[in-house]
Symmetry: C2
Subunit: 369 residues, 2 copies
């Protein structure tokens, strides 16, 4: 095991997604990855780069044009060229494929590793070891995913099923991926875990750039051609012209459906175990679990001094408006206080916040989304 830099690894950080279930904290104009959701002092994006920069030869971030300035401001150590701005959202295959094609153009055929900007990960030796074994398996030609050791039968994540060991000397835990699943129901999730073969699919991919682009060329040749054309122009004066012409026509598709699932069916996907704490902070119940617990299991994101709890167990209060927030007599409350919008719900309804966002849109308050 080593935590030293891996010279042929280039990291891609897709920074997208509105974090709808974290409204009103996360907004389209100020999405989840730009926020410090753990009280660490670093945004999820910054923490992602902090975690990966020491392990790799470099990091590029792919984000929407509207967030590019905010991303650059949060990451002053990144070269301007290492923030790739998408003119419009084209889903994860275009984002990651563009970055892989640009990195192939710049560096030949490195291993690229894609790590989403909006996850919370324990950056300890377990993480570094998963990356190290993943890179070894990627060098051998596999599309590699990291299977997170499940802490329970979550219905919020998809699962990856592990097959036989690949027998790679430097990646002794790497196995063939027998397939991916969608988010299961609770019963199915428990069955998965009982087999010992299933782990959470964190959406992390490690793969040689040309292996990824080769799969794409075979499976979605038009998307591949468009991304190659843009990448060829990226570091030239023609970037804007080619982007304007080609990008709008690119297919919208997730990398899972575009490549990971079909290649897994062909036996080309590997899974390495990720034995580290991981969370995608998908909703406020998840967020509560990431914050330190005070007396009465009070969880506060923001200024603890701005929160008063009287006879109320396990509240989560996100206080970012500077006002005093007082909670009396209700258990499991979630109070998210921002300068222009307030949400009050309970942990049990955390997944339902999407319905509130729909209601906000329905009443025409897009200014709050």
């Amino acid at each position: 095991m080593t935590t030293s830099r891996i010279d042929d690894l280039h990291v891609i950080v897709p920074a997208g997604g509105a974090g709808t279930r974290l409204w009103p904290l996360s907004r389209a104009g100020s999405p989840k990855f730009l926020h410090d959701l753990t009280g660490s002092g670093r945004s999820l994006l910054q923490a992602t780069v902090d975690r990966l920069a020491p392990l790799s030869a470099g990091v590029v971030v792919v984000t929407g044009e509207r967030h590019a300035d905010a991303v650059r401001a949060q990451l002053p150590g990144l070269a301007a060229d290492d923030v790739l701005a998408e003119p419009s959202p084209r889903d994860s295959m275009a984002a990651i494929g563009l970055a892989a094609a640009v990195l192939a153009q710049r560096h030949g055929d490195p291993v690229v590793g894609s790590f989403a900007a909006d996850q919370v990960v324990d950056a300890g030796p377990g993480f570094a070891e998963a990356v190290r074994q993943g890179v070894v398996a990627a060098r051998s030609g596999h599309l590699v995913t990291v299977g997170i050791a499940a802490t329970g039968p979550s219905t919020a994540f998809g699962y990856v099923r592990s097959g036989e060991l690949l027998g790679l000397p430097d990646a002794p835990d790497a196995r063939r991926a027998a397939g991916f699943t969608e988010k299961p129901d609770a019963h199915t999730a428990a069955e998965y875990l009982a087999t010992g073969e299933y782990r959470w699919n964190a959406g992390i991919f490690l793969v040689r750039a040309e292996v990824l682009l080769g799969h794409l060329e075979r499976l979605l040749p038009q998307l591949h051609g468009g991304l190659r054309e843009i990448a060829a122009a990226w570091d030239t004066p023609r970037r804007a012209e080619v982007l304007d012409r080609v990008w709008p026509g690119l297919q919208r598709i997730a990398i899972d459906h575009a490549v990971a699932e079909p290649v897994a069916a062909e036996g080309g996907v590997a899974v390495v175990p990720g034995d580290f704490a991981w969370d995608d902070v998908g909703d406020f119940a998840s967020l509560a679990g990431l914050l330190p617990a005070g007396a009465d299991d009070v969880r506060v994101l923001g200024a603890r001094d701005d929160v008063l709890v009287v006879d109320a167990q396990r509240p989560l209060v996100a206080a970012s408006s500077g006002r005093l927030v007082a909670v009396l007599g209700v258990a499991d409350l979630v109070v998210v206080d921002t300068p222009d919008a307030l949400l009050v719900t309970t942990r049990a309804h955390a997944q339902g916040v999407k319905a509130v966002v729909d209601a906000v849109r329905a009443v025409g308050r897009d200014d709050l989304l």
Copy 2:
């Protein structure tokens, strides 16, 4: 029955009390009576004066010095001399006694009627008739209270017990008051109502000024002497000097304990029935009942458009910060959103808001009280 003006009735409106259980809506610096708590467009104080001015020869308001400007601003129709400013709080006997002594000085021996500034009353014919019969009974020398027809066995109010009819031709429903009770427990309250003899004590008093002052002279001669001395100087250049010297030494006592209870024991108190809707808006559960019900029994004080309710029954939202308030999946929530403080609780905990105010004080945030 008549609703015409009663020429010998002068109304006293004590405007005091912080409305602690309505925090953070009601504050020491901006108390309950200055707020429109029913969405009527008029503050409780304004509605009180609106209700009583047409029935009487005049209205005076007694309030603390710090609120005098706000009271005058809300009541531009009142003469400056009809807002009596107390240098410091000395409880209800001093407030009402001062006003009665000033009115006696100005008008001889009128009937004075004291109606608190922070109650919500249906100003219909039932109210006018109670006042009319009360004035008749007051003219005959009684200290008269209005017994409100109870709508249920409330534990939030004291009760007044009615005795035999007084037999006054123009006040056929006036009875001797057999006594007052403190706030009872629920069982006792139910027993009260079963007898048919008990009504809610709304703290309304009607009495000839000299009858009230005579009782006071007999029961608390020092307080009486002080109030007479101040009243004699009130409409002279010596007011400030006498107030400064005498007011600080006045006894702090409620009119109930000072006069109403001892005089009731002597048989000198009458009760007239008040068959009209009445509420003292003592807490948020009470406030919710006064607001119009929308779909899902949503009650909003403030801008209805600023409130979004998804899958949440019977919420009360007081929205005065201009922000959007979204409530998801919790029943009976109370959300009170002000520019510098937010309270989240449920109707069942409405009486417990005082504990929150204590906690706010304990953490040194007196700026929010």
